[in-house]
Amino acid sequence: MSQTAVEPVAAPTAPAWRKFSLSNRYVPPLFITTILVVGHFAYGILESYERTALAIVCALAAEVVLGRIFFGKWINLASAYISGISVGILLRSPAFWPYALCSVISIMSKYVLRVKGRHLWNPSNFGICVLLFLAPETVAALTIQWGNFIWPLLVIWVLGSIIIWRAKRIHISVTYVLSFLAFAFLRSWITGDPWRSEISPITGPMYQLFVFFMITDPKTTVKSIKWQCIVVFIVAFVEMLLRLNHVVYAPLYALFLVGPTAMLIEIWLESRSAKAA
């Protein structure tokens, strides 16, 4: 990988939060860690500490090694930590190896699947989807957990919203949530299923991570605010199509499909503009 092809430091490591002040960069990792710790001690959300720890350690190790090899620097690990902890929470498997494999694949995807110096997929979204495709008998993703009661849910949504607002990406989360709700009512109208059953998924924990950490990842979203909103609306639309086809992990797959496509289009348009200039 050439120097010109890959931006050092900022590219694969702490890219998601590069616009933050130093203190802000560590807010999301702190937030997700708080969710994990509180969720586990209040509700026993983790099958075992070991699996989550394994996911985190593997993500950090992969980032350190790959960053050192390809950029010759010690890379900030905030982004890798979020990827690892997301894998540790979202992936469900009785085995240990999927956690390690998923984390390493997630981090590695940032270094391999690049176009014009930008990686295309949100790392943990890529890793989890790949494992769900390739090892369906061994892994599942989080669809239930931590309480299902209203107050913890509200606290997480409020805190998450504040953090994302400070990160100036609240428009993405809000657009997605509103789109999801609109499409939920549309699905209910189409299928005849109770509307409450259609909005039910967004009250679960998987969506908290999805809304606050996956779809808002600055490095794998397009640049303009308007197009960020349009892209996330399309994510919700594709999710609806997948849901109408009874795809359990519709949001993860929708982001997997739409996110990189939007990125490629933006890169192509930028490239064309640069040539024209």
Binding site: Y43, P94, V112, P194, E198
Partner: protein, 596 residues
Amino acid sequence: MIRGKTARIILLICFVALLATPLVLKRLAKNREVAVADPSGALARYGFYLQEVAQASKVNFKHQAPTLDHRLDHIMPQVASMGAAVSVADFNRDGWPDLYVTNSGEGSRNSLFKNNQDGSFTDVAAEVGIADLNQYGTGVSMGSVWGDYDNDGYEDLFVYKWGKPELFHNDAGQKFSRVTDKAGLPAWVNANTAVWFDYDRDGRLDLFLGGYYAEDVDLWHLKNTKMMPESFEYAQNGGRKYLFRNLGDGSFEEVSQKVGIDTRRWALAATIADLRGTGNQDLFIANDYGISELYFNDGKHFREAGKQTGVGFSPKSGMNASIGDILNQGRYAIYVSNISEENILLQGNNLWVPRDGTSGDTLEYDNLARAMDVEVGGWSFGAQFGDLNNDGTLDLYLVNGYVSLDRNQNYWYDFSKIAGGNSTIISDAANWPAMDGRSLSGYQQKKVWLNDGAGKFVNVAQAVGVSDVFDGRAVALVDLWNRGVLDVVVANQKGPLLIYKNDVAPENKWISFDLEGAQSNRSAIGAEVRLFWDGHQQVQQVSGGSGFCSQNQRRLHFGLGKNPQIEKAEIRWPSGHMQTIQQPVAGQVYKIKESA
């Protein structure tokens, strides 16, 4: 620092290799699967073969499910998904085990299959007065447990229902008298588990009864549709628990809250065992929609120790509780079944094995289900430990399958959608999408896990003749024809009762113990036999109910392997008395009465 084309190529190769890893592992796992074998091959290779003989044994029983309030019509198959149960007792003391099987359709009849001692059975339930238990307005049967509550030598019958629980006194093996009212049992309990045991060691059997739905819910006449669990994993709006203390005059006193059992989790299975070596029977409850509970019993009070011991931390969908000394260490492991559905929900079953170095009040457990390969069993229900091939180690028989309807359409998407939702959504049946004839983990292959004695189990179900895919619920192990082997009886939801006759390699020896208490309860429930042979030891105890809605034979059956040299059998009675039989002989049933 490596840069440039070479580095990129190396990175790409590594990436592709990692992506291929799951496929390689899948291929390797496939190579380890046991091939289908013929009976003689299975006998030679695994030491046993199971042949389904229900029809040949003149047992033609098919379970019927209830039809509940019409407001549940859209999800009826999953709500009315339990009730097939089987329990074993020698009700007439002729030395041959009989089977009691519950039915759950309104107006349907339960069956008592009397063992004719010639390989066949006759349903005598109506004749002796324990058939007609599912009348309209009284609820329907969910299961039964046998125990001699009045110590007259004959096993009495308790039937738990979604409805009015019933107790029947066994009148010398000829008739059964309904004694529910005299016993003082509650008017309505939506129960899916009950266990007889003598919690206070006064020589009389007490009764634990575990509610599933709340007891104020009449599933045929709902006040509203908010009767579902408030959470898929943290629900505490289920039925209350009861502990009926036997007063010795045919009546019982309900003491659950007084002794410290106060929970509204959704109990599906309970079993008892002296897990700490105190002489008192501890109580283990596997709960659906939540964590398991373990109650340490000090003889007068119970203390919940689930979190402390490690068994009550991660919430799952507990549907079975059975115990067995799987490592021949003289300690009980506990098996709890849960849900595993490929790519959707992988809870994994739990095999709680006592941690080395812990015992008594410091007892802790590790979940070794994965390490021992008994973790993934589909939508698992009943399971029982027993030495199916008489090789000296306890094997594990597991049934599974939730709702088998349309093979090509499944309800999992809708199920996962609602199950992940907030309590206000999940708890109201009206919010659940219609099943529309779709299956939910249906048509699943059963598991017959053979213990290799070295810490691993291997599934040999197909190879040893178990190929049914009914929606299995209860399993009971019993030597039906006094041959020195454990046969398997399976009760299936909306399916036939299956009897698997077991042919075991004759070179593997066995020994059995038929215990009768004197100072202890006469059923000897809670009595332990610790057998020492060839440098091994194994402990088993007489159970008042185990697995899911089932009860094994009371007789304790030990496989011994080839040419065993038996040192001794130590019997510890619930009263605390110890009895030792020196050098018992293999191939015999020892009928032991508690010494004075």
